[in-house]
Symmetry: C2
Subunit: 422 residues, 2 copies
């Protein structure tokens, strides 16, 4: 069906399309009716019909003159596409792969002088194109599939049906499969433990490099020491009970992963507790939707104004799916500043916040473990709340080495090592 | 007016209040009528009347048992406050400073067993309390004052009325005033230049430490080299024209400051261009509000899928004031992925995006400078677009050392070194 001037490259993302779609055009829009709809459906993320605006299509041409074959960078700007661009022909064919071939009216991109002569031709791989359907329902369905996580409570974690809660250091550091297991456990549950980690202050940096690209440095340093010290500038550095919280909420993008590696632990007490804030938030959404809404609407100011630093950021307690994350929670009661809130919502917010806290603290939600030397816990700091029992500082020594990994850097590793292997 | 059991600490944030306010209580709310309103007004951020919910007041008690005097961490959670907490007495007095003194009904915090006996007493400094007024109009007025920036065009920068566009390295590195000048210039304009920077690859890290806490490491490394190289994985590392853009839009929190320090420049061409995207966005808001709205509503996917990394994030092109920043812009045409958009908004979005680009590229918006060795440009990467003319790689050498500083880390320094000196 293609003429002789079909570009010779094979479009990326090629998958089998069992029957070619039919198409219609109307209002500068191409609509494809996927003929396998209802037959080969394995996912709600595959729509039955997809519509593509002509400007969008020209902008998303994947040919080597439009997208650099190696870097995948676009070689034109969305602002370069003439707003009245239109095809002179549209054909659907199956060679070399099922594709739609569009010959565009001969019109230069905005601001381009010279450049190749003659009309531009775009060949879209149909399987690829179907996955780019930009109708909000299709986007949401794809996101739901890609962002699937597993809310948990204590019983689920203790059963550890996936078998990824505990890993050996050697396997995590030295095998692809061991690394993938931990990355996947972190993505789905946000909590994993390692055993057999060398008991030295440097080991944690190597762990971070397997989980993201590098340690996320903060003004606390590249890594930090959790030890009881006199005149501590943070409750974390005392022996007191430390309630469920997340770290560094006063940053725009708080740390994604937190690692705590035990180097010494001879004290009485000092167990760690973990609770899935996403599970608590889902419970609140179901039981008290008005309170869930209040926690998503009222910004909470988090601040750190101490020791020559002054950081401050407003985040809502819960931020629902926003196109980037299935959910976010921002929770660090000791670092809250002034609550700024519509006056008529103050009572609802306090009721909601108290209920949310109560949900996170229920015994059936808490996973407990006392970290022994050589063990390291890794948790999603923006999902899994952590707490610590008080301990007797006179009874021995307790020393945890801590570090953070940027959430972007973790997702980078996760995409490269896990999603591509699926 | 206070009884003998008034706590002896002097509340923070004390300022003179010329006449004591009157107050009324209703619906668990204390309303203060500021008697100097209209007399001592210097700012719209000082409201005439302020209302405070009882739960809010008890939660925001600033006494040493409620807020740690050194760390400023809260010692209770907002979830600890009984939802029906109420005062047994409220008094306004002027000793030691104008304050409102509240004696609370004797009721323990939620979940607290034991603890101090007897009713809790809160003494709020009135000047402090007035600044915590949480009515949305008061919050917005305070934010407007705190987040004031100066949109610019070329003529304004060339006049450099504030005198902060160019600084000497020595003065910036070694004097408080020199540092403050650059920090303030960066906050207000987002663009500053240094001259006399030692021509070596390490100098840039010292600059970063004066602008934030530390260099913001990315998967490109702690610093990066902008040189023309064969088989570049990024157009930046070629000698080609590089249009106006921002760096690393595929991160959740893209770099705040970008530094480019010239170490070598003997080529023909290769000038740098800068344009204030906030000024262009304001122009679009005024001239085409529907297009401005489209750019705030449609998320753009930015991605980097290359070289063993896969980062991806959706940001709208423009994000208006959100309680944390006066505005944000996310703009990097070569790194755009699939545009996902309500079908009926596609045409508007393309029209808006083209117009926005055109506004940023107008000659009267572009500040141009060719960086010579020993010069360093610092710009707000989330506000000031940068571009580079093509150059002739055979005509000589061009080598810029680059680094990023987290926006949180910059604002930390700015608050500590500039806002506190005002």
């Amino acid at each position: 069906m293609y003429s002789a001037d079909t570009p010779s490259f094979v479009p990326r993302g090629s998958r089998s399309i069992s029957t070619l779609p039919s198409f219609v055009t109307k209002d500068r829009t191409l609509t494809l009716s996927w003929s396998d709809a209802g037959v080969n459906e394995t996912s709600t993320a595959a729509p039955h019909k997809s519509s593509f605006n002509y400007t969008w299509l020209r902008d998303h041409c994947q040919c080597p003159a439009c997208v650099h074959p190696d870097t995948r960078q676009k070689l034109h700007s969305s602002a370069d596409i003439p707003l009245d661009v239109k095809p002179t022909s549209i054909e659907v064919g199956s060679s070399p792969t099922p594709s739609v071939r569009i010959v565009w009216e001969d019109k230069p991109l905005v601001g381009r002088i010279g450049g190749p002569q003659g009309p531009h031709i775009s060949v879209f791989d149909l399987a690829w194109l179907r996955k780019q359907d930009y109708d909000p329902a299709a986007v949401l369905a794809r996101d739901r599939e890609a962002m699937k996580i597993v809310p948990w409570d204590r019983a689920m974690l203790e059963k550890d049906t996936v078998g990824g809660l505990w890993s050996d250091y050697e396997s995590f550091m030295k095998t692809d499969e061991g690394q993938r297991t931990v990355l996947e456990q972190m993505y789905l549950y946000g909590l994993a433990f390692l055993r057999g980690v060398p008991v030295n202050e440097q080991a944690i940096e190597g762990l971070c490099e397997r989980l993201g690209t590098h340690v996320q440095e903060t003004f606390y340093g590249k890594t930090f020491d959790v030890k009881s010290v006199p005149k501590a500038n943070n409750i974390a550095y005392t022996s007191l009970y430390l309630g469920l919280h997340m770290d560094l909420m006063y940053f725009e993008s708080p740390p994604g992963l937190q690692l705590l590696h035990s180097l010494q632990n001879t004290v009485t007490g000092g167990s760690s507790f973990f609770s899935d804030s996403f599970a608590a938030a889902e419970r609140l959404r179901t039981a008290h939707p008005d309170e869930f809404a209040a926690l998503t609407q009222v910004p909470v100011t988090f601040h750190y104004d101490n020791n020559g630093h002054h950081l401050r950021f407003r985040h809502p307690t819960i931020s629902d799916y926003d196109g980037n994350e299935p959910m976010r929670v921002y929770y660090a009661p000791p670092f809250q500043g002034t609550l700024e809130c519509e006056p008529e919502m103050v009572d609802t917010w306090y009721r909601a916040f108290a209920r949310f806290r109560e949900f996170t603290e229920r015994p059936e939600m808490l996973y407990t473990h006392r970290l022994e030397p050589g063990e390291c816990v890794i948790f999603n700091n923006r999902r899994v709340l952590h707490a610590r029992d008080e301990f007797d500082p006179m009874s021995g020594d307790r020393f945890l080495k801590g570090a953070y990994v940027l959430w972007d850097a973790f997702k980078d590793k996760y995409r490269v090592h896990v999603q591509r292997h699926k």
